[in-house]
Amino acid sequence: MKTPWRTFFRQNRGRMIAAVALVLFVAYAYNRNAQITEAVLASSLRQSIPLILGALCGLIGERSGIINIGIEGQMLMAAFVSFLVNVKTGSLILATIAGVLMGALMGWALAFMSVTLRIDQIIGGTVLNMIAFGLTGYFYQVGLATKGKFQPIAIPLLSKIPIIGPVFFQNPPLTYLTLVLIFVVHFFLYYTRWGLRTRAVGEHPRAADTLGIDVYRMRYMNVTLAGMLAGLAGAYLTLEAVGSFERMMTNGRGFVALAVMIFGKWDPLSAWGAALLFGFATALQTQLQFMGALQIPHQFIGMLPYLLTIIVLAGVGGRTRPPAAVGQPYVKE
């Protein structure tokens, strides 16, 4: 007998085994030390936030045909602008909005370079990174401090559930916002007219063009909107995670986000899973260093997330297929 359940299990064997192993592992760890387990898991989620935002930014761009390797720069600029606005006005909301707008501006700049000027998109992204590294490095003054940062809001009832409560339901607002955004992007990408057109433009722009869809407009719109997500990631870093700004504080997260996007096969929900995995690697690394449990120099433990990135990018995540038209400038006939 071939029940649907059995088919489902067969198709998702890898994921099922991973899920069961994860649950068992968490249960075991929780049993050994509840406090540390919760702390590591909560930290995994926090670490995953900028990664998933960056991955969503990259994914929306690539799904419409534009490679964005400037996510790092977008985040960094946004983080810096959020920081400055917060320092000047003291408002967290205004600072967040400023960061998001900065991300949008950077996204628009990428769209301008790759759609209108038809510059090689890798170079366009690199330009964003260089600008961000240069400007933030030059204008940053030591000694400035933010006026406060976003504080956790416990959600009634839900936050009381063991493990899940402290991990998911006692978070600051931008984290909640991000969790909602993952599902919003997923919904829009697969269930709306915008999503269908976005995917068409990334797969076969000429086909979309012959059906009266404005390829340039779609790409401009998407890369700009996607930039807002990277901007939000930057705002998250200064206003929620750290509460301050430092030079190069994004620390490669924009690039790891690209690995997350690829590992997640350009799919928002899968990318979230990938982001959590990377977040977990980072959290574990911190915890291991903190405990000094292993007799390994801390530099090696610190490599964990980056090592994972290299392994994923080398293709361990199975064969994945990027959108067909990604990276190719579209020229109307």
Binding site: R197, A208, L211
Partner: protein, 521 residues
């Protein structure tokens, strides 16, 4: 109601560089007719259609729909006027389902943004039932055969209420059976009041289906006629502007010793055998044609024989010498000539000049090189000689081959391969996409090579080409040679049965013909 659903008057289109693609073209379409637009490549057919579909703007002239003058600025305008176009290269998103492809750009939505896929699916089903165009609305386009993909393209236009359907070279990618199916669909659409413009350069098809025929040559309309007033010969002359020899003229072959001898060749793709223990012998001075529907292992066979792919098993003997596989240079130096299936991908380096492309096989040898130094003078002289000898129409030997027409690109390949002392020629789809004049030329050259004692293996999906050129015909089906015939003892219908896998010769016969080494267990 006007006499014409669509009329173009005095359309002129000039491209940068002074090319006049359309020169005061007049064209009209009656309601419910199939109007063939015939012409060689570069005659301006596609340009005219792109103007009607709003992809180009005309420099002069006026378009009328239902007798009213209209301005078509974009495909969007064309679609609104009821004009639909099926492009030569399909405009389908491979990873989308049939339904998604059909509704793209004209989506059914709820709340203004959310796709209503179930309802769209229903509409697609209704539409496909109404016009007898059977498709699975949930299938991914990339999984569908080309013929079905074309149906999806037609449905796409009908979904947008097209009353005027432009089909740009729709038969170029189809098997003979699929062409028949397409014609049936076209007749049905016509009977339901759809007016069809059918662009092609294939004469037989025009005579088989068109109600009226307009012929274009070098950007101008030569004339409009009907199938009962003309025959193939007359149409060809209108197209090319001179008398054309449609039948290949050749004397009976005088086969010499075996030049190419392959045994038990087996090629696997991802572990799946695509060429299954094929043996073949081709003699000097004969043309062996391999007939078969595309995708039955011909490409892989050709790649194995030309050193582009390492087979899993088998031997290759050329002129009595055992050859290694997967080494193109050794094969070339031992007398292999190759006209590849895809001339732009495997036959030419597009950005390189004609002169450089003409020495791709010999650039490292004297007189084109002395040690590590190239000899530009010798390369240039060689190019000038071959351009003259093979009648390559180009602005000069130094222009990039990318700028040449398809026919002239193919002539560059033919010139390169035929000017070397070759013993064995593999011609894979040598005339695909070429116009009548170029086809005539290439065919004549191939027969000339045969008469000079070259062994020729011809692979083609065009049954007419196989029939008219070959001395012997082998049929390939699912990676196997299933039949071998003398060309004068077989007809098209019989070959068709073998090509479709409905019949195969007995193993004993195949062993006797030398295309198998043993009977199957």
């Amino acid at each position: 109601m006007s006499e014409y659903v669509l009329e173009a008057r005095g359309i002129t289109k000039r491209f940068p560089g002074g090319v006049v693609a359309n020169d005061h073209v007049d064209f009209n379409l009656r309601p419910g007719e199939i109007h063939a637009l015939l012409g060689e490549n570069g005659a301006g057919k596609t340009t005219l259609m792109n103007i009607i579909y709003g992809l180009y703007q005309p420099d002069e002239g006026q378009i009328f729909v239902d007798g009213r003058p209209v301005v078509i600025r974009s495909p969007h305008d064309a679609i609104r006027l009821g004009i639909g176009m099926v492009h030569q290269h399909f405009m389908l998103v491979p990873v989308f389902t049939v339904t998604e492809n059909i509704i793209l750009g004209a989506e059914v939505v709820r709340f203004g943004i959310v796709l209503d896929l179930p309802r769209a699916r229903q509409q697609v089903l209704e539409l496909s039932r109404r016009y007898g165009l059977e498709v699975d609305p949930d299938a991914l386009v990339e999984d569908l055969p080309v013929g079905v993909q074309q149906r999806v393209e037609i449905l796409k236009a009908l979904y947008r209420d097209a009353r005027i359907l432009i089909l740009d070279e729709p038969t170029a990618v189809l098997t003979p059976q699929e062409v028949e199916e397409l014609f049936a669909v076209m007749r049905q659409l016509r009977d339901r009041g759809v007016s069809i413009i059918f662009i092609t350069h294939k004469l037989k098809e025009v005579l088989a289906i068109a109600d009226r025929i307009t012929v274009m040559r070098r950007g101008k309309v030569v004339g409009t006629t009907t199938p009962d007033q003309v025959d193939e010969q007359k149409l060809a002359a209108m197209m090319v502007g001179r008398e054309v020899v449609l039948e290949v003229q050749k004397t009976p072959a005088k086969p010499g010793p075996v030049v190419l001898d392959i045994r038990d060749l087996r090629v696997e793709e991802n572990g799946v055998p695509v060429v299954k223990d094929v043996s073949l012998q081709v003699r000097a001075g004969e043309i062996l044609g391999i007939a078969g529907v595309q995708g039955n292992g011909q490409t892989e066979l050709a790649e194995a024989l030309t050193g582009l792919r390492r087979p899993q098993k088998g031997t290759l003997v050329l002129d009595g010498k055992s050859m290694p596989f997967n080494n193109a240079r050794i094969l070339i130096e031992n007398g292999l000539g190759h006209i590849p299936e895809d001339r732009q991908k495997h036959g030419l380096v597009l950005p390189f000049s004609i002169a450089d492309n003409l020495v791709l096989c010999t650039y490292y040898k004297p007189p084109f090189a002395r040690g590590w130094q190239r000899q530009p003078q010798a390369i240039l002289e060689n190019a000038e000689r071959l351009i003259e000898q093979f009648d390559i129409r180009a602005a000069g030997p130094m222009v990039p081959v990318a700028t040449l027409s398809g026919g002239n690109q193919q002539k560059v390949i033919v010139a390169r391969e035929f000017s070397r002392p070759i013993r064995f020629l593999l011609a894979n789809q040598p005339t695909r996409g070429l116009d009548v004049g170029s086809i005539e030329y290439i065919h004549r050259r191939i027969v000339e090579m045969r008469d000079q004692g070259v062994a020729v293996l011809l692979i083609s999906a065009e049954l007419d080409e196989i029939m008219s050129l070959s001395d012997r015909i082998a049929v390939m089906y699912e990676g196997e040679i299933v039949a071998v015939f003398d060309a004068d003892k077989v007809d098209k219908a019989t070959l068709g049965m073998y090509m479709a896998g409905a019949r195969r010769q007995g193993d004993d016969e195949l062993v006797a013909a030398g295309v198998r080494t043993q009977t199957r267990a």
